[in-house]
């Protein structure tokens, strides 16, 4: 029996997964990419020893990262996806027929190639003609972005290492500049259980830039702490409201889950005031 022990950044627990087969391993300029096969989760993608997606449950994360802001926006046409080299977010974005253009900015092109080979059901939309792949740093792309976009989605690795720049005030300011007036920004922001201080920090940094900032959460089986959060920044529209009917095919997300995922105002206030005891 072979087990893969995951490095859990900042979490007091350790996960390990039984390995049926090690399918792939490569060291790129940026990170180590590994794919293993597990009997329950199917294929699993690791970057630098940290689990990114599994075949079995990736849709929870990808749907929830994508569809909340896509439904809060009245008519999203131009989208930027930063990170998410597996292609899961791109697949979800393209379920919205009004989308005209996706800038898919992934610093490590190898992740896209690996996903195409091992996760065809996740990467299935990356070759769509509306998708323009930019193999570059997401922060650089946003700084140099001269046209306005409607939605910017950050699907990065954890807030350590080279993804750290995607959580800075500087970066959020250039995001705001790149967004149209009705634009939305969303990023994952770690777990409410184990990374609460990071969740608060991202909220506070966003608040320095965006007039409307909010937080929603969803259960994800394979991320440490499970109670995974997503931070939203908006120039004027409230992300809790759907501005278009829910009429796409999903496994988890729907219009009711959309509204229920947001933290209640009382709880949110306690969180930001650091009144939560854990």
């Amino acid at each position: 029996m072979i087990r893969y022990f995951e490095k859990e950044p900042y979490a007091p627990v350790e996960s390990s997964y039984e390995v049926e087969k090690v399918l792939f391993k490569i060291k790129t300029k940026f990170q180590e990419i590994e794919v293993i096969e597990n009997s329950y989760f199917g294929k699993m993608l690791f970057l630098d020893g940290i689990l990114q997606i599994t075949e079995r449950d990736e849709f929870f994360y990808h749907e929830m990262l994508t569809h909340v802001v896509m439904h809060a926006h009245p008519n999203p046409k131009r989208i930027v996806v930063i990170g998410g080299g597996d292609g899961g977010v791109v697949r979800e974005v393209l379920k919205h027929h009004g989308v005209e253009k996706i800038y898919f900015v992934e610093i490590d092109e190898e992740v896209i190639n690996v996903s195409k080979e091992f996760f065809p059901n996740v990467s299935c939309a990356v070759d769509d003609p509306r998708v323009e792949i930019k193999a570059m740093d997401g922060a650089d792309f946003i700084k140099r972005c001269h046209t306005k976009v409607d939605v910017i989605i950050v699907d990065s690795t954890d807030i350590i290492g080279f993804a750290r720049s995607l959580f800075s005030e500087d970066f959020f300011a250039s995001i705001k500049k790149a967004l149209s007036d009705e634009g939305f920004f969303v990023t994952h922001s770690e777990s409410l259980h184990f990374h609460k201080d990071m969740v608060i920090e991202v909220q506070k940094t966003l608040r320095k830039v965006f007039p409307l900032v909010d937080l929603y959460a969803t259960p994800i089986a394979t991320y440490p702490g499970h109670w995974w959060t997503f931070a939203v920044g908006s120039k004027q529209l409230n992300p809790r409201e759907l501005r278009r009917p829910f009429d796409i095919k999903t496994h988890y997300y729907d219009d009711e889950i959309h509204t229920q995922s947001f933290l209640t105002p009382k709880f949110y206030k306690k969180l930001l005031n650091k009144e939560l005891p854990w």
Binding site: M1, I2, R3, Y4, K7, S16, V19, K21, V22, G49
Partner: protein, 281 residues
């Protein structure tokens, strides 16, 4: 990558090794075969999830299963190996120039081919012209009884599943018929510390067929309890009194575990094992 391989030796204990990579994972017609590369023990061959040998400690097993019987026999010319497709046993036999022919009966050709590819140091002897490789079931081969041998070495997997028949009296009777006047049979006989009952079951099966059986011990860190046994049946030669000492000393320049003193002392059984053999089964 933080990959750890665990082999359970019982429901409550096991051995765990951190591994660098999986080199091969293959289902053969007979078993699951994996080759891993570990940090501490080099490359490892697994059959059905159990460690068969590691690069670092295989020499103990292979030297002890071969040199003990071959140095007791006065003139071993024809040797039969049942199992042992990895080639380690053959490699050690070939250190004895008086051996003229080695028959190797291995059921799983895929194991042999994988070892030739990934363990050249272990399998090197398989290509020697003295070696005749027969891909067939060892139990059936023995039942035919076509050949005569001076030494029969049973280098098999554990007595569960397909290898069970290699530990039963009926098989030992066939071995007995195939052995010459001064013939010697040796088999690996599991860990007497981990499973004393299994060990004494093997011992008793052998002594029910052969007049004399002798168990001897060796230290093999990656096997259960690190404490391993072999059991030898000899028609006339005594395992410690009839050592060809001169040959044994000469051979010792090529071995890392075996020498004549180790040979002798390996037959000294601790008290708890002696008493295990006198228990009624």
């Amino acid at each position: 990558m933080d990959l750890w391989f665990t082999e359970k030796h019982s429901p409550n204990m096991g051995i765990t090794l951190r591994i660098k990579r999986c080199i091969l994972q293959q289902k053969t017609p007979y078993q699951q075969m994996d080759i891993l590369e570990s940090y501490e023990y080099g490359k490892i061959l697994l059959l059905d999830g159990l460690i068969m040998f590691t690069e670092r400690d295989e020499f103990v097993y292979h030297e002890m299963i071969v040199h003990v019987p071959l140095l007791i026999h006065p003139n071993p010319k024809n040797v039969l190996v049942i199992g042992g497709g990895d080639g380690g046993t053959v490699r050690e036999i070939l250190k004895h120039p008086e051996v003229e022919r080695i028959d190797l009966v291995e059921i799983d050709e895929d194991v042999m081919n994988a070892c030739m590819e990934y363990f050249p140091e272990v399998s090197q002897g398989l290509k020697d012209p003295k070696v005749r490789i027969l891909i067939e079931d060892g139990i059936e081969f023995m039942a035919k009884g076509d050949n005569r041998y001076d030494i029969v070495i049973i280098d098999s997997t554990d007595p569960i599943g397909p290898a069970k028949g290699l530990f039963e009296p009926k098989f030992y009777q066939n071995v007995d018929h195939t052995l010459g006047q001064e013939g010697i049979m040796v088999t690996q006989s599991e860990s007497p510390f981990q499973d004393p009952k299994l060990w004494s079951w093997i011992y008793k099966n052998i002594s029910s067929v052969f007049e004399k059986a002798f168990s001897y011990l060796a230290f093999i860190p990656t096997y259960p309890a690190g404490f391993w046994s072999f059991t030898l049946a000899s028609k006339v030669r005594h395992p410690t009194k009839d050592i060809r000492t001169e040959h044994a000393l000469k051979l010792s320049s090529t071995t890392r575990y075996y020498n004549p003193k180790v040979h002798k002392s390996a037959f000294s059984l601790p008290n708890f094992l002696k008493s295990e053999l006198t228990k009624p089964s």
